[in-house]
Symmetry: C2
Subunit: 766 residues, 2 copies
Amino acid sequence: MSEFNVIGRRVPKQDGVARVTGRAVYTDDIKLPQMLHGRILRSPVPHARIVSIDTSKAKQLAGVKAVITAADMPRSGFGYGKDNSPLKWEKVRCVGDEVAAVAAIDDNTAEEALSLIQIEYEQLPAVYDPEEAQREGAPLVHERSKNNVSFSWTFNKGDVEGAIAEADVVVEDRFRTQYINACPLEPHICLASFDQAGNLAVWVPIHFAFMFRKDVAEVMGMPWSKVRVIQPAIGGSFGSKIDTEPFHFICIALAQKTGRPVKIAFTREEEFLAARPRQPMILDIRMAAKKDGTLLARDVHIISDNGAYNAWGSHALFAAMMSVTSLYRVPNVRFVGDVVYTNKPYGGSVRGFGNPQATFAIESQMDILAQKLGIDPLELRLKNANQPGDVTVQDVKITSCGLAESIEKVAQRIGWSEHHGKGGNRGVGVASLIHVGGGARIYKSDGCGAIVKIDDGGDITVIIGSSELGQGSETVQAMMAAEELGARLEDIRVINSDTAIKPWDVGSHASRSTFISGMAIKRAAEQAKKQLFEAAAQKLEARPEDLESLDSKIFVKGSPDRFLTFGQAARADLLRTGGDVIVAKYFYDPPNVELDRGFFGNVSATYAFGSHAAEVKVDPETGAVDVVRIAAAHDVGRALNPMGLEAQIEGGVAMGFGYAMTEELQVKNGVIQNVSLLDYRVPTVQDVPAIDPIIIETIDPIGPFGAKGMGECSTVPTAPAIANAIYDATGVRIKDLPITPEKVLRALEEAKETSKDGSEGGLIDE
Amino acid sequence: MSEFNVIGRRVPKQDGVARVTGRAVYTDDIKLPQMLHGRILRSPVPHARIVSIDTSKAKQLAGVKAVITAADMPRSGFGYGKDNSPLKWEKVRCVGDEVAAVAAIDDNTAEEALSLIQIEYEQLPAVYDPEEAQREGAPLVHERSKNNVSFSWTFNKGDVEGAIAEADVVVEDRFRTQYINACPLEPHICLASFDQAGNLAVWVPIHFAFMFRKDVAEVMGMPWSKVRVIQPAIGGSFGSKIDTEPFHFICIALAQKTGRPVKIAFTREEEFLAARPRQPMILDIRMAAKKDGTLLARDVHIISDNGAYNAWGSHALFAAMMSVTSLYRVPNVRFVGDVVYTNKPYGGSVRGFGNPQATFAIESQMDILAQKLGIDPLELRLKNANQPGDVTVQDVKITSCGLAESIEKVAQRIGWSEHHGKGGNRGVGVASLIHVGGGARIYKSDGCGAIVKIDDGGDITVIIGSSELGQGSETVQAMMAAEELGARLEDIRVINSDTAIKPWDVGSHASRSTFISGMAIKRAAEQAKKQLFEAAAQKLEARPEDLESLDSKIFVKGSPDRFLTFGQAARADLLRTGGDVIVAKYFYDPPNVELDRGFFGNVSATYAFGSHAAEVKVDPETGAVDVVRIAAAHDVGRALNPMGLEAQIEGGVAMGFGYAMTEELQVKNGVIQNVSLLDYRVPTVQDVPAIDPIIIETIDPIGPFGAKGMGECSTVPTAPAIANAIYDATGVRIKDLPITPEKVLRALEEAKETSKDGSEGGLIDE
């Protein structure tokens, strides 16, 4: 029997039915009195000087309430290095750049008004390739970045060159990854409204509610205190709604200018054009090992094709770097990451945040190395696997660690020994990952506040700082509160939608919600329970320490007949002389406080591990790859809600599969070509392979009930697992994503031609 | 200079502009996905047996999603004595009784469906007069109440008969008051929605959010914990939205049955027909005094014409009784109040809750007594006025008391000495009141919870249990929080709209919000300030006790340059190792805990007093009364927001003026005749006399910053002040409201006929 009453149960998402039946209230469902509709005029050219803007005709259109350009709103810089601005003046730097905006009584009028705005552009030479961008004389996206390198990450520990020189085997490869769109069902949207005193309320699906208001206040020149951020139901984000974007500021400026609420809702085309994609990377990686497979060094240079501005995505190299330094035991690591401006869409945060790119490279190369060493790829991984108690060269402190177990589990499930190395266009491949599992310290605090209130009906409200992003955090938060309180799950409601109501939280990112909000809830619930027990103790004529709770009842230990319901106990507290309400708060900031080292130290309080194994069939005539199934094992610390975890694994694998095989924003001369769900091939439920989710419990020493986060993990190693399986099936190695039939077919043909030289085969850049 | 920084300032209502510009979000502005519209079929007859109901045709109408009768929902009783039920079966007891209901895709369809429901009634003999209703053989509204007396209030202290026997003067009169509708701009409305787990959310303008959910849970057979009550902006209530009504339960039942959100919004006609009116009363009152004017006894019998069911209004005799026992020093008091069923609209709670009726009688009779004694009515009042420290025969403990001062002030402002007793169809009159000023203990707790949260922007959220009813409580609550914290008013927001979020409160009634919620806010703010000062002290390298705050800054005392803003201090608390959020709670239950005596003891923690003086001109040809102006002085303890208080006085006087002069629901054979704003004469801004609001400060020893409540008070003594002025002008005494030109003219004519007998003149019932 479980030691828990609620934790570990298979609980469907509490908002699931509302979402699938259309009953959930999304931002677009909210219609405020006198609300206007905003639309944005975007640059059709990748790099140009703005010669003139004529809005006079648009302003004359009936139903138009405001037309604004950069002259009408703050030009404040925002983003890392303040290189972006809400509306552009002087220059546009990528297609989609915001140049003007309209607020009108309806969407059609706003759209018509856009067509009446006349802009004269003087086109400038543009640069699209991040390597070309660094060459002498390349056009500059931002004048102040001399070679278009916005900034660089460097890490160097140990003696990489020495280790490589002394190694038995060295492999060196270049990998490339593509642009993808996160494709949430709900496109980006924002609704802004000012009250008479100049207080702003913004309804917006967003990860970082409190940071969003800081951004808004800073850019719009308002006190933070005047900004309230409310998040209705969110229709998915997968990281893409983490940034404070130009359209948010524009929406707010239109509301300010018109004195009326303004909503801007992206069309699907606009979502493809203007939502932040996952940034492409070029990854040059050298890995050195001893004959026995012991890893000696990694030497990695990543060029992040950042696009025109530094959004959150400019920091995706942080997660890439951490996997470079800390996936497997590697004593000597050098990492250089260059964030390079190009006149293209600029990257944001998409699930995994740099790690899918890095892990594709590292884990593809682990197989290349295994091949070169003549060691089974599984064995190579197990030999070098991180272990509990390890401290990596980055000083990442590994506590709980299910890496080895995850490798063994997926190998078993995929039938490794049976299928591996058999060729014949059928094969299996494995890949693993490390990711932050308890937040990542991106700000002075990585904390989250919680308030727990127990009412006269025995109902319990958890007001939590973190945001629900569709990942099911509300459900698991309710479970943790129920467990700690000894309450029935159905008595808990979770509220997290409003900065005015919820206590501070840095924001939902880095797979931190379960871990950090969970600890905040657990501790606040402990205190609320104490208040409740004190009230019950008086009524039950017992001492608080002699009480215990189960199913929302408080019992005198050993006397199953002497009990009060939570409602009775709460009323006993309320309805007495000098009564009280039961309300407790807690703020949890994880103990890995290393502000001085920022991203380069022990960034998280725990780390999540996992492995995927893929089975594929390749059609040698067409290059088509049939991904038959994927076993995905993830170390979750403790499985709080296995159903939710399995759903997260399935969703992550589906995203990883799309990343591996079909998804790519095709950008030609800076213009995204495929801006509809017909042309952009996000996998449907028909396309996704069979998924075998496997949960590995390692009971984290710090996390709530032993849990850690894994929201992002399950999308990270899918692509290399498939690439490795294709190699196992065919002997060809695809090093650039996505793995289209064309690439496979070409590689198969090239392999035939080069097969006589006896080397690894496939596309080797060495 | 004021000892306060925020308290005492003239602050406009914080939601004022939103309300007058249509930007406020009322319940009717909320449209949920898939929402249906509900309508109710009401009895057109006052008393009948329901023979049959045929809903088959209505059910077949396209767009109709549910048609329900009492067979389809719980028949639970509710209201005092559980004499009411959501939908009626077997019998209807008044016109407007709910018999069936429809939910359809739009309002027109729902209305059409109603017309397709066929009901056969067998009419029963009805009773409309509350005196006739008590006679042997009268039709019984409820079989279990043998003489149609639902219940009675009795109070007897001292020796009333002895005092009357020994008195120098005894007056005895019968007064009558009428039905009125509270006429909020927003008719009654309710929106109910169930989620997948059977959790119910109800959007509803209501006074008693937590009690509402208790009622809903009990009637609908749900756990309390599953009911969440959310109050959008309220378009006025004046008490009329205090009850949990049949239509609320019906709306919820329709939502349950259809599985979709259902909104029921009263039409204006329905508002007149089915909203609870102020109940008519017949007041027989004897008062005895010594020659010198010293009051000796009051002997009062009130018949409350309760209508068909016991809503909250059945308890209005509580407030009437308190004025009978405690307005002026009266050593011997007998009170009998009978709540009598009739087949008519049933009374609710309208501003003043029984007190406007009682005060009309008492204060009219004080003038009659003065006339008989030959004492100036002012002098008679001042002689008998309650004084601080008095304990009345009901054990009402008077602490702060501005009664005498209010009499003197209004007399001065109205020019008493100049105008009184001059006749010539011009006159002045005065009337006073006592009312609860710090709540009224109607439940085991009279308390209210508050949460104060200070965020990283220095913004402060006050989450308060009480409800904003349009009276401006949010504004004054924000002021109290700002004062206690040393914050700028604009940094405070008040949230009070959601039982899931706010801590428990008994509900907004009995003029308690300022007093009780104010104390809760003050104490919670004290604790939040302590947390904030502790954080600031570390940063400022000072001791918390050496700090002081002003304008949202924390200073080291005596060092105006050493300070942190609230935002900086909150961030200092947040962004440190082991950081914290600033959140504090407090629950305030006033100290007058006398649960055993219920309504008959010291029901409130303080009492509010005041006086109105009216100047009138009477046209002897038409009987038309021109109320020239009204001076209204109210003891508010401390004037927290003089602008808000003046607005409350003005609004109260306007209501009192309508009650006195023009408003009356004309009920004929149980049917309200005037069901539109054209036919029901609520005074417009053109009709209302000039009002001279006067604030009297007595600094209450218990209330927050010395304040007490006065929300209801300002409507209470207007009618008797006008009646007394009319008497002063003409010598005729009108004892039944409203004082129409017809009544005045008739009285003038009768007075001419009887003037030779030298008695008081006018309509004397003795």
